[in-house]
Structure formats: structure tokens, C-alpha cells
Symmetry: C2
Subunit: 199 residues, 2 copies
């Protein structure tokens, strides 16, 4: 690597820090950025700066927003009696894409992960409790990831808010549409049997 | 995707233009750039701008350089009687890493690819001919990729410079060190037999 210029090796170093980008991919990306026309390369650079300059968290739900309340919190047509708790902004995007949910959200910005030293106090749980106390929610849907850590976080929150008069629900678990029972995990089948419902 | 902010969706759009980065990876990278500390994100942005600002092609060999001749052309210790012709700057880096070659290079910045409408005139072949005429080279090694297009480009160049009094060679082709004959392509074995040399 001694034959490449200083700014090129710096760019490769910066690209290698991105998730899923190894040294070889970083090299390929860097050479690509050198080859495309300058406007395109600079457009990427400025969009990175732009996103860091303009995007902030919504003070209510911690969704991404460009100044003030996010598009969902400020939308008068959303159902303000249901609150859906997710780990990350991209979980919100995924749920919105399903087109089924019309309530509000709360983004935890992570999950409780003792192995990574992430405790409840590093998440936005304090603000969640405030919102539940201030608001008039009838139901809270815990939509953390169906993983050990996500489930643990959901359990923690449901314990914390157990005394409030709102229904606490979670996402249904079962077989996925389009899957084949023969090849489905036994854990998934166990969930599907446990959560079975009238036809 | 309607739930994400304008600058975030712009960043995702820019990232999707990179080679090997699909919409999902672009989303993941964009959220990563939002999550890391601001200095790190801006360091990436400025290193992209920096590389486009400072890196140019060496006027002699078309290697990447920061102003004037590249590190190899300006190195007085390189052997100025041998010229190695490669397709891309990263081929030069790969050959340099092998540590065997001490001569100069010429980078074509591509290969002749009729299917992509890339002809000889879009490459740096004109300057290559000039260099061979001006310089005092005894040997030219054609080190284009061992592909149909790379071989075609090498053939074109060797025809073009056939009348000059310099030896034109190409990289050896054969079995790769560490490989197993049983699993080696018949084309590779044919090359290895044809290019066999005294033990």
C-alpha cells in the first residue's frame, strides 16, 4: 500500500471504518470515487456533512427529524392513543412500510445489552415513562427485536410501566407467510403453537 | 421510505451509487453515519473531497499522484529500462506488493472493450507510444489482466509497438502456487504446459 497517495490512503482508512466494508471493498470504493465525475463524488461528501448538520432526534419520540417534532409526531392524523416502542429509527421505517399501523412511536435508540455495557439509562426509557405519564395512551406495543436482548428490553419496560393503566402488548410471533413448515425452526413452531388463534 | 428525512434519503441515494452497495446496505451505512460521532462522519466527507481535490494522474505514467510526477516516476532508484503496462492504478499496487519489480509503469486507465464502447483512443496508449519513442526502454512487460479484453489490449499494444527495438514480454501463465492440480482448470493447465521451463 506504500504506492498510493496520502489522501487516497486516508480515504481508504475512513471507508474501512464503515460497517461491512473491509480493506478490499474500501479500496474499490476509493478508486471508484476517484474515477466518477467530481460532482458525483462531492455530492456524496456533502450529503454526509448535510445529514450530520440537519438531522436531529425528535424531542418526543427520538425518530430522526430535521428540526422540531418528526413527521409522525407532528401529523394530526395519527392515532394518539397507541404507542409503538422500537429499538431503532429503521425499525420504524420497516413498520411504517407494512402500512398497518397508524399510531405514534417511541424509539429507544438501542436495547439493553449487558455484554456491551448498555444499560436502561443509556436508552430513551426515561422519556418514554414521561410520555406515558403525560399522554393519554390506551395501548403500548413493545416491538423490540425478537432476540434475547430485545425481549429482555421489552420485559424491563413492561415491568417498569406495569402500574400504569395502559394495555401492554407485543408483536405476534409465529410462522412467516410464505415459509415451509418442514424447514421451520422448532422455536418458531413453538411460538406459533403457543400464540395460535381462532380461525 | 417516506418516513425518513430529506437529507437522510439524499445520503442513501448517494451511497447507492457506489459499486456493490445496494439500497439495504446504503440504508445501513447512512444510519451508521448518523450514529457515529460527528467528527468521524465529517472525516469521511472531507477525505472524499480531499482525494478529489489533491489526487491527479502522473503526467508520465498515469499513476495516481498528488501534484507532478508520481512516487515511482520521480524515484531515482527505479530501473528506467523496463516499462510495465497495467490497466489500473490498483494493478500497480498489487505488482509493487509482490516486491519483484523495480522498473517503471504505464497505466492504461482501462482496457479495450468493444462491448462497452471503450476503444484504444480512450486509453493512455498515445502517451505510451510517446514514452517508448522518447525513452530508452529495453523491455516492455504487458501486464494487463489475463482476460479476453486484457489479452486483446495487450495484443493491440504489441502490434502497435512491434517496429520499435524493445523486447515485448508478458506475465507468465501457469498453475498458482498452493493450488491443487486435480482441481485446476484445463485452460490453466494448458497454459502451464505451454509455458513450461527447465527445472
Amino acid at each position: 500500500m506504500s504506492q498510493i497517495t496520502r489522501s487516497l490512503s486516508n480515504l481508504i482508512k475512513q471507508l474501512t471504518k464503515l460497517p461491512g466494508i473491509g480493506p478490499k471493498s474500501a479500496e474499490r470504493l476509493a478508486y471508484h470515487l476517484l474515477r466518477v465525475n467530481k460532482t458525483e463524488a462531492l455530492a456524496l461528501a456533502s450529503s454526509i456533512a448535510d445529514v450530520r448538520e440537519n438531522v436531529a432526534y425528535c424531542p418526543d419520540c427520538f425518530n430522526l427529524s430535521e428540526g422540531g417534532l418528526c413527521a409522525i409526531c407532528s401529523n394530526p392524523n395519527r392515532d394518539r392513543s397507541v404507542l409503538c416502542v422500537v429499538e431503532q429509527p429503521r425499525d420504524l421505517v420497516a413498520l411504517e412500510d407494512s402500512g398497518v399501523y397508524r399510531g405514534l412511536y417511541h424509539i429507544l435508540l438501542g436495547r439493553i445489552a449487558p455484554l456491551e455495557n448498555i444499560g436502561a439509562e443509556q436508552l430513551t426509557i426515561e422519556r418514554l415513562v414521561e410520555r406515558v405519564e403525560e399522554g393519554d395512551f390506551k395501548e403500548m406495543i413493545l416491538a423490540t427485536n425478537p432476540t434475547v436482548e430485545g425481549d429482555g428490553t421489552a420485559l424491563y419496560i413492561s415491568n417498569l410501566l406495569a402500574e400504569h393503566s395502559l394495555a401492554i402488548t407485543r408483536l405476534a410471533r409465529g410462522v412467516t407467510t410464505g415459509s415451509i413448515l418442514e424447514y421451520t425452526n422448532k422455536e418458531v413452531l413453538a411460538d406459533a403453537l403457543t400464540d395460535r388463534r381462532p380461525f
